[in-house]
């Protein structure tokens, strides 16, 4: 149920984001709302539904980009794993921790996307310029995470997942 809820929310948020970045006249800066959901899924959901939710968010982003390649579902699941691994070392339960994880994840996600694009695309080096939008992107994504936090808490599991390990 949470999986479907998060997927529906992701679709709505990605649609809204695509309009807002156009209205604001952004060129290479985006608001990584999908990543804010993935970080939440990594920190607050059980492994199965969290991983499925992350994959769904990545898939939706992939489709809405206009050129679905499989890059974003893979990156979303990777981000899910990395955040979950980091949460073994750092406490990610509070709102501030969630926002900090979201900010760092935005940077890592952008760098990984660039690396994989560079590896596979003939024009990959041209995408380096898109990194100029990342600092503002981090700020906007963290703000989006702060706005979404009360809503996301409704998706939280009743009892916190055990901290036994990564998976």
């Amino acid at each position: 149920m949470r999986f479907f809820g998060l997927a529906a929310l992701a679709l709505l948020l990605l649609s809204v984001e695509s309009v807002l970045v156009q209205v604001f006249g952004f060129e290479v800066t985006r608001i990584d709302v999908g990543l804010a959901l993935v970080v939440f899924a990594a920190l607050r959901l059980r492994v199965t539904e969290g991983a499925l939710s992350a994959f769904a968010v990545g898939y939706l982003l992939d489709v809405i980009t206009g050129k679905p390649t499989g890059l974003y579902p893979a990156l979303a699941v990777l981000a899910f794993l990395l955040v979950r691994a980091a949460a073994l070392l750092l406490d990610g339960r509070g709102r501030v921790a969630y926002l900090a994880f979201t900010g760092v994840a935005t940077v890592v996600h952008a760098l990984l996307a660039l690396l994989l694009t560079w590896l596979t695309s003939r024009d990959g080096i041209g995408h380096v310029v898109s990194l100029s939008g990342v600092p503002l992107q981090v700020v906007l994504t963290v703000l989006a995470g702060a706005v979404l936090w009360p809503l996301l808490r409704r998706f939280e599991v009743a009892e916190r997942p055990t901290q036994g390990g990564l998976l």
Partner: protein, 285 residues
């Protein structure tokens, strides 16, 4: 075996969710895939949300602008009337030229390709990933938009349709690094390739020999030789043209004629407009 699968169910699931798209991406690369049923359903659901939100935001903006604009309406109306009379005179001159052009073409036995009606579309959103610079428009397959069609505004070229589904289409912008357009300098007829730089603001002027006459401010239009864009549509003006001490080609940048971050309405040029169907077969999706 089943016991083992049940025991490692979660790591296996996460492994599959990670490996499946990653392998697909690494094997297919940046080319993308044709939209399947699920993709179409997602796009069918998201486009009305985008269009509705865009209309709402535009409606509020227009109301505010309309109120502010009323304050200087009388002066503006007078200016518009005088500008209109000037335009009318220019229009008459252009009509004369058009008639002359038709006569000359008839004399030369020149035949033109059938011109289809351009499809007017509204931009409903920007792609939410900076790795691929594209916009979403509210016209798709149902309205005759097809992958590969060129997209323009009265100011100049916007890009090319890379995916069309029922009620929407995605247009790769000129500034995307995968975009390459054949251009020609209007002043000197020097040919160039204009490539996206990924930054959203500039294009790179490529494959122009360093001894060619290229200056800042030169207007560049489409050459029409790439089989995608019709000839003579404005691409932009040369911003810089540097001649490095080594190498065959100059290093130039171009300001696009269209502000691609602010574009609201576009025209999709149907394939029939002087573009042979065969020329679009090799267009990357």
């Amino acid at each position: 075996m089943l016991k083992l699968l049940a025991r490692y169910r979660e790591p296996l699931l996460v492994g599959v969710l990670l490996a499946w798209p990653l392998i697909g991406y690494l094997t297919r690369g940046h080319r993308g895939r044709e939209p399947n049923v699920l993709d179409r359903a997602v796009l069918w659901l998201s486009t009305p949300v985008q269009a509705g939100l865009k209309r709402g935001i535009d409606g509020v903006g227009d109301s505010l602008r309309g109120y502010v604009a009323l304050r200087g309406a009388h002066e503006e109306a007078a200016e518009c009337r005088s500008a209109l009379s000037v335009s009318q005179a220019e229009l008459n001159a252009l009509k004369e030229m058009e008639a002359e052009n038709l006569r000359l073409k008839a004399m030369l036995d020149y035949t033109t390709a059938s011109v289809d009606q351009e499809i007017v579309a509204r931009v409903v959103g920007l792609n939410p990933s900076a790795q691929f610079l594209s916009i979403r428009i509210d016209r798709g397959e149902d309205h005759g938009v097809r992958s590969g069609m060129p997209v323009v505004t009265p100011e100049g070229v916007v890009g090319q349709v890379v995916r069309a589904v029922g009620n929407s289409a995605d247009v790769m912008l000129l500034t995307d690094p995968s975009s390459h357009v054949a251009g020609v300098l209007q002043r000197t007829r020097v040919r160039a390739t204009l490539s996206g730089t990924g930054g959203g603001r500039r294009l790179a002027v490529e494959l122009v020999r360093r001894d060619q006459d290229v200056k800042e401010g030169d207007l560049v239009v489409t050459a029409g030789t790439d089989g995608i864009f019709p000839r003579g549509v404005r691409l932009g003006t040369v911003r810089s043209a540097e001649r490095p001490s080594t190498g065959m080609f100059l290093k130039g940048t171009l300001d696009p004629a269209v502000d691609l971050s602010r574009v609201e309405e576009v025209l999709v040029i149907p394939v029939g407009m002087g573009l042979p169907e065969a020329s679009l077969r090799g267009v990357p999706r």
